[in-house]
Amino acid sequence: MDLRAGDSWGLLACLCTVLWHLPAVPALNRTGDPGPGPSIQKTYDLTRYLEHQLRSLAGTYLNYLGPPFNEPDFNPPRLGAETLPRATVNLDVWRSLNDKLRLTQNYEAYSHLLCYLRGLNRQAATAELRRSLAHFCTSLQGLLGSIAGVMAALGYPLPHPLPGTEPTWAPGPAHSDFLQKMDDFWLLKELQTWLWRSAKDFNRLKKKIQPPAAAVTLHLEARGF
């Protein structure tokens, strides 16, 4: 595009106009809705915090169950824990998940895990362990609320049952005590995997929703000059 001498005035006027209207550009308007970015970041931070918290809680709880459950290489079959939501998923499948599905799976998983965890709390014999479990349940409830907030911000409906309603099922007492311990073991292990996966999920979501500031481009129509 060749610019004639008189065009320089026009270009200047254009720049002035752009600068004048710059505050009105939504992407740059700080006073406007910040979008889901901050809540995704907060959810991501919460998952990392819960990962840390669970590491301590799981250690205490598995010691409470006794060997072999607190052995580092103990890997029992899932048996009764089949009903637990699985966090492990094929990598390609995980990549192909859309945001809605990704968030929905997280939400559903934590809903179920929270329900199991509350059952665990009821069985715990020591007051200190009950206190730790109750604290973790509260944190996990917070994560669930945070995921619900992200979904709402992105306009996705929450899966049923609606958040806030008490889960209607809990691990049944029909198990033997050893199976129950295995279920507890798997619950903690699955919870740990889910938190790890959620950190990945929200990190991915964060990058997707919040493009870097340097990438903001303004498409200007130069045709008028």
């Binding site: 072999p68 069985q123 050893f178």
Partner: protein, 976 residues
């Protein structure tokens, strides 16, 4: 016939009855085989329950029977258990029997059969066993499910110390199963190709969540179980019941360990009273409240039953409730009328009924210890007067009560604190004094010890010191010294004073402590003795003083090294002649001095004796500084006069003198050989007198090196073996040499001094600079031979025609700061000649020869003629330019100008040179280069030489003067 018929009938009837009886008996004697045998399995308790019946019994018939039961495992032929079971059997009544299997029943098929035998006394012998029932099979494996591996028993609850057998069943024929207790593999016994077992003996409690046991067929299956081990339920201990109000019985016990497990709730406690037949389940583990019946039941028989899933324990007590009264704690504990020594305490008790009496115990505690204990009988309110209390003291009163009719237990106590009020101090302060001269004036320092708490009776606020002069009876008000000061200083004059010291608290003063002090410090000479040491401290004793003293005081310092030290003293009675002084402040190696004073009836202290000693003597820590003197070829003297024996860590008993000995060398007389720790050998001499601080080493070899060391010793040992001092004896001839050389040096020195002092005289005698013509020998020769009238010219005949003033700045090395030209250059300036007579000045030829007496030659100025450079001022005042024709004018002018010049010219800067006109200028200043030498004056006569300030000279209008002026200008520039 009829008779026979009757007989036959009777016989038949009898036969019939016999037949009936026999048939019944026969039915008993016949073997009664157990029938309808049913076997059921209780997996939780690992029990086989058997049930069977006996059908052959008559209706309502009861028989005692014994049954034999056989149990086989896996196959009928493998009988593992036989047991006989006796019971009473009824017709068609089900018989029950159970058996607990050690092996979990799920792991093996069991077979059971039973047979019976009548065991009733009514049945005559012989008795036969019935036939065995059919083998009944008990097989729990059918209900196991489809899994490949099973582990039994599941989640079993046992007590500590039990033996538990586990087994597993595998449906995998190629199994490779390992079993683990917690994480440790355990040994397995195979019972069957599919069944294996292992046994845990004497199991113990590990954790509440149980002991984990699991078996694993790697890659195929894994099964686990939890063994809950309960602690053994203990029998309740210390079970008792009591009442506070006859309305409730509080029963309590020590439950022992808790047996709660996830599989077992906490043990329950049930209270059963046998007289009333009442029973209640206790809500708590260690106590229970039982409502007392209204029917005045006094006797109670309680049984406490503790129970959990595994065990039941019971304990019983029988008691009369009136003997088990544990009253409630008293209340409303108050104090009334608290004074310094008394207080009244009141309290109330919770009454039980109308006629109850309580025994209350009142305890008075001070500083945590029980001081008084009183028992008071109380109906409702108690009251007691506490006396003999200490003023200003905090006490605690504690009251507890018991049921007086039948003592069972004291109630919980109630306690309250109170403090008695203050009272005036009960004792006079213990006062001591120290009199010393301060700036020549006697000054007494009073010390007093703080009163103990029991003496002070309150907080001491201040001490009052009143000084009374007995000569002047009118008292004067003394000082008030605020507590906690414990001393004060009072200046005195020479007379005696009586000093009263009282301690005051808020109530009043203490009795006065009186001490009489005189202005005399009383430092009279008293011989010092050594004090004895005992295990308890210093044992100080003294001779009793004549004249019945009021007492004695022993004074010392805890830290004598502190100046001034804080004196300590101990008062002793008039009959005391010794005491033991002990103080925690006494340290080994410190010398303590004790003074014993006698106290007169006028309370005046007189020094009686002085004692000194160490609580423990130590070896000296350092050696004296030794001075060597009187060194000769055969001896020298060692002196250590400045070594103080008083300030040592022990009494110095003497000194050891060590002399280093060479190998094989004999010690000097009086020395003996000794070896030291470093294997070196020394000669040692002991000096027993500590005051001998000098020693002469004799019998030494000339020109030899001796190394010695002097170290003091006390009863604790000798001083450190430090560095030896080397001394070399002088040569045998050195003394003679000294005797010769010293006088020689003396005489040489004397000669030199004389020469120096008489140098002038010598100079004149030996090498005079200017020969005196009057004294010249030549004169006598001339006089006698040529001209007998020849004489020495008198100065009065001379008219001076010229004075030669030489400006001769000596070659001073002084450099003026900032000078551009060195003053040494002035050395090359021409001498300036001042022509006093114009006629002569203008005369081109040599003038008449004038001789004059050199009367200035010996002037002081000549002697002090310095060679300081001095510039000649070219400007000469006009008044001074006049002709000096007469001698008087000349001298006048000279004197005037000289005086002026002294005022104008700094001293030391003027240069007066006297040049004999017989002497060539060259000779007067050989260093000067005569750039323009003056005309030689051909005169053999001597010329008068005069001192003239150089500043007076006017420059002659000659080439020389010009040169001089130039030079002077240059010199003047140096002063700019």
């Amino acid at each position: 016939m009829a008779l026979s018929t009757i007989f036959l009938t009777v016989f038949l009837l009898a036969l019939l009855s016999l037949r009936t009886y026999q048939s019944e008996v026969l039915s008993e004697t016949l073997p009664l085989t157990p029938e309808s045998l049913n076997v059921s399995i209780n997996s939780a308790h690992q029990r086989l329950h058997l049930q069977w019946t006996i059908h052959n019994l008559a209706y309502h018939q009861e028989l005692k029977m014994v049954f034999q039961i056989q149990i086989s495992r896996f196959k009928t032929s493998n009988v593992i258990w036989k047991e006989s079971y006796s019971t009473t059997v009824k017709q068609n009544q089900g018989l029950h029997w159970s058996w607990e299997s050690k092996l979990p029943l799920e792991c093996a098929t069991h077979f059971v059969r039973v047979r019976g035998k009548v065991d009733d006394a009514r049945i005559p012998e012989p008795k036969f066993w019935s036939n065995w029932s059919r083998w009944e099979e008990a097989d729990a494996q059918n209900s196991l499910g489809p899994d490949l591996l099973f582990l039994f028993p599941e989640d079993k609850l046992v007590e500590e110390g039990s033996d538990v057998t586990f087994c597993y069943v595998s449906r995998n024929h190629q199994h490779n199963i390992s079993c683990y207790l917690e994480a440790a593999q355990i040994h397995i016994d195979q019972l069957d190709p599919r069944v294996s077992t292992f046994k845990l003996k004497n199991v113990s409690f590990i954790r509440r969540t149980g002991t984990n046991i699991f078996c694993e067929d790697p890659g195929v299956a894994m099964k686990g179980t939890v063994l809950f081990v309960s602690k053994i339920l203990e029998e309740p201990k210390d079970f008792f019941c009591e009442t506070q109000d006859f309305k409730n019985l509080n029963c309590a016990w020590d439950p022992g360990s808790d047996t709660t497990l996830p599989k077992q709730p906490s043990q329950s406690y049930t209270l059963f009273e046998s007289f009333s037949g009442k029973k209640m389940l206790c809500e708590h583990r260690n106590f229970c409240n039982w409502q007392v019946a209204q029917d005045s039941q006094e006797m109670y028989n309680f049984t406490l039953v503790a129970e959990n899933y595994l065990r039941k324990r019971r304990v019983s007590i029988l008691f009369n409730v009136t003997h088990r009264v544990h009253p409630m704690s008293p209340y409303n504990l108050f104090f009334e009328n608290i004074s310094a020594t008394n207080a009244t305490v009141t309290w109330k008790v919770h009454a039980i009924g109308n006629y109850s009496t309580f025994l209350c115990q009142l305890e008075l505690l001070g500083e945590g210890k029980v001081i008084q204990q009183q028992n008071v009988s109380v109906k409702v309110s108690g009251e007691y007067l506490l006396d003999d209390l200490e003023p200003d003291t905090r006490y605690t009163a504690r009251v507890r009560c018991a049921y007086a009719n039948h003592f069972w237990k004291w109630s919980e106590p109630i306690s309250q604190k109170f403090s008695t009020s203050e009272a005036a101090p009960s004792e006079a302060p213990d006062v001591w004094r120290n009199v010393r001269l301060v700036s020549g004036r006697p000054t007494v320092t009073l010390f007093w010890k703080p009163l103990s708490k029991s003496q002070a009776n309150g907080k001491i606020l201040f001490y009052k010191v009143i000084v009374e002069n007995p000569d002047k009876p009118s008292k004067f008000e003394g000082l008030s010294i605020p507590a906690p000061a414990n001393s004060t200083e009072l200046p005195l004059n020479g007379s005696s004073y009586q000093i009263h010291v009282t301690a005051h608290n808020s109530v009043g003063p203490s009795p006065a402590s009186v001490i009489t002090v005189s202005g005399d410090p009383g430092n009279r000479e008293v011989e010092e003795e050594r004090v004895n040491i005992t295990e308890d401290g210093f044992s100080v004793s003294w001779k009793p003083q004549a004249g019945a003293p009021a007492g004695y005081v022993v004074e010392w310092c805890d830290r004598p090294q502190d100046l001034p030290c804080d004196p300590q003293w101990k008062n002793l009675g008039p009959n005391a002649t010794s005491t033991v002084i002990d103080s925690g402040a006494f340290r080994p190696g410190v010398r303590y001095n004790f003074r014993i004073y006698g106290i007169s009836t006028e309370r005046m202290a007189h020094l009686l004796e002085r004692k000194t000693g160490y609580i423990e003597e130590l070896a000296p820590s350092d050696n004296p500084r030794v001075v060597t003197s009187h060194l000769t070829s055969h001896s020298f003297t060692l002196t250590w006069k400045d070594y103080s024996t008083e300030s040592q860590p022990g009494f110095i008993q003497g000194y050891y003198l060590y002399l280093k000995s060479k190998v094989g060398e004999q010690c000097l007389p009086g020395f003996e050989k000794t070896g030291l720790t470093d294997d070196s050998v020394y000669c040692k001499h002991r000096i027993d007198n500590p005051e001998q601080k000098t020693f002469v080493m004799e019998n030494l070899q000339p020109e030899s090196v001796y190394e010695f060391l002097i170290t003091p010793y006390t009863s604790a040992g000798e001083g450190p073996l430090g560095a030896f001092t080397k001394v070399t004896t002088s040569s045998e001839y050195s003394h003679a040499l000294v005797l010769i050389l010293l006088p020689m040096i003396f005489f040489i020195l004397l000669f030199t001094i004389v020469c120096y002092l008489k140098s002038q005289w010598l100079k004149e005698k030996c090498y005079p600079d200017i020969p005196d013509p009057c004294k010249s020998s030549v004169l006598s020769l001339i006089k006698s031979k040529e001209n007998p009238h020849l004489t020495i010219m008198n100065v009065n005949d001379c008219v001076p025609d010229a004075i030669e003033v030489i400006n001769k700045p000596e070659g001073s090395k002084i450099q003026f700061v900032g000078a551009s030209k060195s003053l040494t250059e002035a050395e090359f300036t021409k001498p300036t000649y001042l022509y006093l007579l114009p006629t002569v000045k203008n005369s081109p030829g040599p003038g008449p020869c004038i001789c004059f007496e050199n009367f200035t030659y010996n002037q002081a100025a000549s002697g002090s003629g310095s060679c300081d450079p001095f510039p000649i001022t070219p400007q000469v005042p006009p008044g001074q330019r006049g002709p000096l024709t007469s001698r008087g004018n000349l001298l006048k002018a000279l004197e005037k100008n000289y005086m002026n010049s002294l005022g104008e010219i700094p001293s030391g800067e003027a240069s007066l040179n006297y040049v004999s006109q017989l002497v060539s200028p060259m000779s007067g200043d050989k260093d000067n280069l005569p750039t323009n030498p003056p005309e030689p004056i051909l005169c053999s006569e001597y010329k008068m030489q005069m001192a003239l300030p150089l500043g007076l000279a006017s420059p002659p209008p000659s080439e020389n003067s010009r040169l001089s002026s130039t030079a002077l200008l240059d010199q003047g520039e140096h002063y700019r």
